[in-house]
């Protein structure tokens, strides 16, 4: 077992060199396809911190000229759906705040666009609370997709009945559990905008929820949408800290720190199993993609991913 795992780590490194990334302790692509072994491929697409960036950046923007744009992203997602039988489209929070669209329309077009693109689930970032919880509740009611979070106690708040601790999706024969975690809003958001919301330890709650999804719900994979941030200079809880302290989470799709990871991190969890952490910057500039292959023998194993930059006129990888 240990030997096999080491071998696979080398395989992963080789892949990184080849410009694609495979992650997995079992086989990667094309393994053990003899006979009865049927496979399901699920393409996980994800965004974070798009911050109301509905239009592309201006042509003369110093950093992102003509890049991004929701209509282009919708087009890309449509194209990727044609390639994959099974897709999950997810967002890790800070959907709103950042352009005049939000100041004038308070998040309505953002949510309608996410409905149109077919988002399956999202978690809340701190800026999603910028107009308060009543306003956020209105947006959640407009959404065709669920919001998930397991470390905010929401009893007695406008969000109480609108946020689920987790959701389970079935794609083919595979069940995937999705939960979410958020940062402590104190200091980020005026107190009156999160009154009654109790922040709980994201590591403890995410572990509890992931165990429930694996044990009770029989999920083959657990994804945690996180708005904790990728990493910090101190020991503050982040996606990297969470990854190391969890037992049943397979993917952490992050946000908050606007981190452009060139490739996902492959970290070890508390039990020495691999956890994948990814984050795709901000502003809808990139769409993350992780392809997960599940086999009847192994339930799940390998992945690869790409991040696709969404330009106004072109999409480069």
């Amino acid at each position: 077992m240990e030997e096999l795992r080491n071998y696979n780590r080398r395989e992963v490194l080789r892949l990184l060199g080849a410009g694609a990334l495979a992650i997995g302790a079992g086989n990667i692509y094309g393994f053990g396809l003899q006979g009865r072994n049927t496979q399901t491929k699920i393409s996980i697409l994800h965004t974070n911190d798009w911050h109301s960036r509905i239009d592309p950046f201006p042509e003369n923007d110093p950093k992102f000229p003509s890049m991004g744009g929701a209509a282009r992203r919708a087009s890309l997602i449509k194209a990727l759906r044609k390639e994959s039988e099974h897709v999950l489209l997810l967002d890790a929070g800070d959907i709103i705040q950042g352009t005049p669209y939000f100041n004038y329309y308070h998040g309505e077009p953002e949510i309608k666009l996410m409905n149109l693109m077919g988002y399956d689930a999202a978690t809340m970032g701190n800026h999603d609370f910028d107009n308060g919880m009543e306003a956020l509740a209105r947006l959640m009611k407009l959404a065709d997709f669920p919001f998930v979070n397991c470390n905010y106690e929401l009893k007695g708040t406008p969000l109480e009945k609108l946020v689920r601790k987790s959701v389970v999706f079935k794609r083919g024969k595979v069940k995937i559990g999705i939960t979410g975690v958020g940062i402590n809003l104190k200091g980020f958001i005026p107190d009156e905008h999160h009154a009654g919301l109790v922040y709980l330890d994201p590591i403890v709650k995410a572990n509890e929820e992931a165990l429930y999804l694996k044990r009770e719900k029989q999920c083959s994979m657990v994804i945690c949408l996180s708005h904790l941030g990728y990493t910090y200079p101190d020991s503050k809880v982040s996606d990297r800290v969470l990854a190391a302290e969890t037992e049943n989470i397979d993917l952490i799709l992050g946000g908050h720190t606007h981190t452009f990871l060139e490739k996902p991190d492959i970290l070890s969890n508390k039990l020495g199993k691999q956890v994948v952490v990814n984050q795709v910057g901000w502003a809808g500039l990139r769409l993350g993609q992780l392809n997960c292959i599940f086999s009847s023998q192994s339930n799940m194993k390998s992945e690869e991913k790409v991040q696709i930059e969404v330009f106004k006129k072109s999409i480069a990888i």
Partner: protein, 237 residues
């Protein structure tokens, strides 16, 4: 990743990811999404595309100081005086609070809103010298921040090495008048800013920025964002 049945499996082959080959050149705007956006975009365009001022060069964001941070804080320090009719010794913003960069050329109302989209208001507070030094130490610890009216040196360990005010006026109360946002005064972005008194609460920060650049334009001038060495990071101890 999940070791449920590793023992049964053997690595056979690995293929590169095919979906990475999708070329964006074939992708255009999704028409349904565009149709959804248009009714929201149209009413905004006239207001938001209005040119308020011109900039002679791009204003970008970096540490320890940046052309963007210097520009915005310099503008706010000058405009804050006019708006409050009080002296403004120092203007300060947090690095994360400036959300986009500005290009060379036309600066539109949309760009002003996007640089500071939040509803935060300007506040002028009076701080004593130890409170001010504490703020500078916090700025040093983060490797810098947008500020105007002060020069400072940060050592390799992100500690405040030295500082001097460049426009601090002597006052009868002996305090330093610091212009910032209510968000930061109230502990936002994990800053702890102690102060003696709240002197003034003004308009939204972005409205202050807008007034300032409109004034620059009205005076027949353009913006000249630049770094000037106001915050330096010492390379040797």
């Amino acid at each position: 990743m999940v070791f449920i049945s590793c023992r049964q499996q053997q690595l056979a082959s690995v293929e590169p990811l095919k979906s990475s080959e999708i070329s964006g050149k074939e992708l255009t705007d999704d028409q349904a999404a565009e149709a959804l956006i248009v009714p929201y975009r149209k009413p905004l365009q006239e207001i938001m595309q209005q040119v308020l001022c011109y900039s002679g060069s791009p204003a970008t964001k970096e540490l320890p100081e940046s052309s963007l941070g210097n520009l915005i804080c310099d503008l706010l320090r000058v405009e804050g005086k006019k708006m409050s009719s009080l002296h403004v010794d120092v203007a300060f913003m947090n690095q994360g609070g400036l959300r986009i960069e500005w290009p060379k050329g036309a600066i539109t109302r949309s760009m002003v809103l996007e640089i500071m989209p939040f509803e935060n208001r300007l506040q002028l507070i009076a701080v004593d010298s130890s409170q001010f030094k504490s703020l500078l130490e916090q700025i040093a610890k983060r490797g810098g921040a947008p500020i105007s009216g002060v020069r400072m040196e940060i050592n390799q360990n992100n500690q405040l090495q030295s500082w001097s005010g460049t426009s601090i006026a002597p006052k009868s109360d002996g305090l330093i008048y610091l212009l910032t946002s209510d968000y930061l005064v109230n502990g936002g972005d994990s800053y702890t800013i102690g102060y003696q008194k709240l002197l003034w609460t003004g308009p939204k920060v972005r409205d202050g920025i807008e007034q300032a650049i409109v004034a620059v334009n009205a005076a027949g001038d353009i913006l000249k964002p630049a770094k000037d060495g106001r915050i330096t990071k010492l390379q040797s101890p």
